[in-house]
């Protein structure tokens, strides 16, 4: 592809020019700040090369918050464009690009990394482990995700964004209908990030099966660990399908194969099937850990054991199986025939059964509980009714016959935002607030937290509830404007107001992080909320030291830490420390991911020699890793004593 320089960088649009200027200014500020405060070495040794699961988790969450900001700005631009008929803020191409990046970023680069970040921080602590099974791989997973996300994001200013929707349906995403490099960014960004996700899946399955502390049987594991385990199983079986689908489309676009084309025997519907065979389980990859987070928060602040623990596990397993059997409901109207539609209609509705079981279990857990209305609990309580609204409309959509009426309207848009925001985003906020003291040693301010909660939740309903009615009024999704005669103005305007309220809620949330960093009281107790039930609250300090537990805890029942408090057992024996084996930090995961990113960037522009160089460098990194003799190191007993004393004296 012969690109001229003025085509390489996107120019001529005032919105993008603004973004470019702010990117440059932010970069200068970051580089300048790090240099001024002499933090480069700290950044490199403490964070970039770190193999500590808690640090990696924090980096995942930070990246996810950044992506939430970008995806949120996309959303606000779209809502502004739709606020009134005949708006001219975004032209149709720009609108297409923005809803494509909004969808992709929110699912792949926001929801999943946010949850994986929380899983990284919490799961090893919950099962009483010192780290994950493969700490180096964990670092590599993070960096491949991050490089994939950055590769996807630079499409905004270099070469042009993808514009075929986050589903990238063929033949819309072919070279003919989506010319330019935009779609290649989608393919390679997701491919590189997907490698990291698969490795995370393997890593946590092995971690949860093999790294549990003494007495932590499978049926004593906390609910969040259970849902994480099942999520990782879904990842391992679903992500290879995405890998192949993306590779096949990459071949179609780069090397002229005919998998999904309209000529030479290709089959566009094959893409729709492959995409959703991965894409539907993906929905559960981002909702099951959220269920786990709500379970933890509800039991902690209702001060009761989870009602129907085993029924919860059974329902999660059942959901994971069903998640692979429903993909055709994404294209009921694309000519599958009555029998096929009926089958997928029934399997889709069947998912409501185990989900309903879970909802009732949460309600019964709350029943007669001594509820404390903390900020995480507020998010968890708001989740239940809002998620039910999303779920019930989902069952409406699951009826294939009725779906002919709703499909591709705002009814659908509202449905999946109700389940994904009320489910996943509420869970991300709830989980972050809940475990924040575990990560940073202080709580987020509760008063500011409540403000951001109420504004966000009310804004969410103001934004999306009207969209059900817009959908029933026939407003199609993916349109960039509409006419006054169509009568969609007032509900759209209302919806836009709600969207901006959500934006304000998020900004208050972000301000709370800054405010609490400056003013919040430092926590000295490990059990910061006072009603912790699981092992992550049993570590000796508010910020757990790098080895997590000086002495590995022993578990005798479900809700292990709650039980030890009830029995009045001292959780941390102060003596009898033994040396602890820990892994070394490594720069290789970062370097390998950067090489992959170079290869991906080359392929985006059909610059095969750059792709080749990046690929060879990646293989060299892998070879180096294979020959590396890195057996980690031992933390001596004196160091453990010193660390523990410092932690308890704070």
């Amino acid at each position: 592809m012969n690109l001229r320089w003025d085509e390489f960088i996107i120019t001529g649009d005032p919105l993008i020019l603004g973004a470019q200027i702010s990117i440059v200014l932010a970069s200068i500020a970051i580089v300048g700040g790090l240099t001024y405060f002499k933090k480069w070495r700290w950044l490199w040794t403490e964070w970039i090369t770190s193999v500590d699961h808690k640090r990696l988790g924090i980096m995942y969450i930070l990246a996810a918050l950044l992506m939430l900001f970008r995806g949120g700005v996309d959303a606000l631009l779209m809502r502004t464009q739709l606020a009134a008929p005949n708006m001219e803020l975004l032209n149709s191409q720009h609108y297409n690009e923005i809803f494509t990046t909004h969808g992709t970023i929110m699912i792949i680069f926001m929801a999943m990394p946010f949850l994986i970040g929380l899983i990284n921080v919490v799961v090893p602590l919950q099962i009483g482990a010192r780290d994950v099974a493969f700490p180096f791989l964990n670092n590599l997973s993070f960096w491949t995700f991050f490089v994939g996300a950055m590769l996807f994001n630079i499409s905004f200013v270099i070469g042009g964004s993808p514009s075929a929707g986050w589903t990238s349906y063929m033949p819309l995403a072919t070279n003919e209908l989506s010319p330019g490099p935009g779609q290649n960014y989608y393919l390679l960004g997701l491919q590189i990030a997907g490698i990291g996700t698969l490795m995370t899946g393997i890593n946590f399955i092995v971690t949860i099966f093999k790294m549990r502390t003494k007495g932590m049987t499978l049926f004593r594991m906390p609910m969040f660990t259970w849902t994480s385990l099942i999520t990782m199983v879904i990842i391992v079986f679903a992500f290879p399908v995405l890998t192949v689908s993306l590779a096949l489309m990459t071949f179609d676009r780069l090397f002229g194969t005919a998998f999904f084309t309209l000529h030479d025997g290709g089959m566009p519907m094959l893409w729709a099937n492959l995409f959703w065979i991965w894409g539907h389980p993906e929905v559960y990859i981002v909702i099951l850990p959220a269920f786990g987070i709500f379970s933890e928060i509800i039991t902690t602040f209702a001060r009761k054991t989870l009602f129907g623990y085993k029924a919860m596990i059974a329902s999660v397993v059942l959901i994971s199986v069903l998640s692979f059997l429903v993909w055709v409901h994404h294209f009921f109207t694309m000519g599958s025939g009555a029998l096929v539609n009926s089958f997928f209609s029934i399997t889709t509705m069947a998912i409501a059964i185990p989900t309903g079981v879970k909802i009732f279990n949460w309600l019964f857990t709350l029943y007669k509980g001594r509820i404390r209305f903390t900020v995480p609990m507020l998010w968890a309580l708001a989740f239940i009714p809002n998620f039910v609204v999303g779920g019930v409309t989902g069952v409406m959509l699951a009826m294939a016959a009725a779906d002919y009426q709703y499909h591709n309207t705002y009814f659908l848009v509202s449905h999946f935002h109700y389940v994904l925001i009320a489910g996943t985003v509420f869970a991300c906020f709830a989980g972050l607030v809940f475990w924040y003291p575990k990560m940073f040693g202080h709580k987020l301010n509760e008063r500011i937290g409540r403000w951001s909660f109420w504004i966000f939740v009310i804004g969410f309903n103001v934004c999306f509830f009207p969209q059900y009615f817009l959908g029933l009024d026939g407003m199609p999704r993916r349109v960039n404007t509409y006419l006054p005669e169509e009568g969609w103005f007032s509900l759209n305007a209302l919806s836009t107001v709600g969207a901006f309220m959500m934006g304000i809620g998020f900004m208050i949330f972000a301000y709370n992080i800054y405010y609490s960093f400056r003013h919040s009281k430092r926590e000295t107790s490990g059990d910061c909320w006072g009603t912790g039930r699981t092992l992550e609250w049993a570590t000796s300090s508010a910020v757990p030291p790098f080895y997590n537990f000086a002495v590995l805890p022993e578990v005798k029942s479900i809700d292990a830490y709650w039980k030890t408090k009830e029995d009045g057992i001292e959780t941390q024996q102060k003596k009898d420390y033994k040396k602890i084996h820990m892994p070394n930090n490594s720069a290789l995961g970062f370097l390998m991911s950067v090489c992959l990113g170079i290869a991906g960037f080359g392929l985006v522009f059909h610059w095969y020699w750059i792709g080749l160089v990046g690929g060879i460098l990646t293989l060299l990194c892998m070879t180096y890793r294979s020959f590396q003799e890195d057996d980690g190191y031992y933390v001596p007993v004196e160091k453990i004593q010193e660390t523990e004393q410092k932690a308890s004296a704070k």
Partner: protein
């Protein structure tokens, strides 16, 4: 990260905890590989009749060539098993010797596959000829790429055994690469029946 607890009663590759974790992790990775190849097979079978009036598989497939490739790969799986057998006997030289035989057989397989692809391309069947040939080359190519990576990987492991001897660490690497190698054999059996035999019958 795991403690290095040695357990003398276990086979060498299971003696360190890192070895045990790596082996379990690799089994799960093979689960993902099954999903990957299943998707490629599904694509192949969906597109099997979509030759767009171009050259048909039955016109090109040759039983003799495919049988030689099958023989080479299945034998290499057997010799790979012998290498692990010698690994259990702690016989460094014999382990390396059988691994060398395995790698040579694998190289023979890849060589024939390259010849085959070049031959097909010469006859007019390439990646972009039709949907059928796209899926054929990508399915076979993915398998062939896996075999090639396996060859490089086993060579690196041999160098490591040569340098460090049979330790729990190196032997778990041998064991894991043998799992990988056998897996590729199983995939080939599906390719042999599903792609070649079926293609010749049609």
């Amino acid at each position: 990260m795991a403690h290095e607890v040695m357990n003398e009663n276990e086979p060498l590759e299971y003696q360190s905890e890192t070895g045990r974790l790596n082996i379990l992790g690799f089994w799960i990775f093979l689960g993902a590989e099954i999903a990957l190849f299943s998707t490629l097979f599904a694509t192949y079978f969906v597109l099997i009749n979509r030759t767009a009036g171009e050259i048909m598989p039955g016109e090109l497939f040759e039983l003799k060539l495919v049988l030689i490739m099958t023989f080479l790969l299945l034998t290499s799986s057997f010799t790979c098993g012998l290498a692990v057998h010698e690994l259990r006997n702690r016989n460094t030289k014999a382990t390396i010797a059988w691994l060398i035989v395995t790698v040579l057989l694998g190289m023979g397989f890849v060589g024939f596959e390259i010849y085959e692809f070049a031959h097909y391309a010469h006859e007019g069947a390439t990646l972009s000829t039709s949907a059928f040939w796209s899926s054929f080359f990508v399915l076979l190519g993915t398998h062939g790429l896996h075999v090639s990576i396996g060859i490089c990987w086993i060579i690196m492991i041999m160098i490591q055994i040569k340098r460090r001897g049979l330790t729990p660490k190196t032997s778990s690497k041998v064991f894991i690469s043998s799992l990988y190698w056998h897996f590729l054999d199983v995939v080939w059996i599906f390719i042999f029946t599903g792609v070649y035999l079926l293609g010749m019958v049609k």
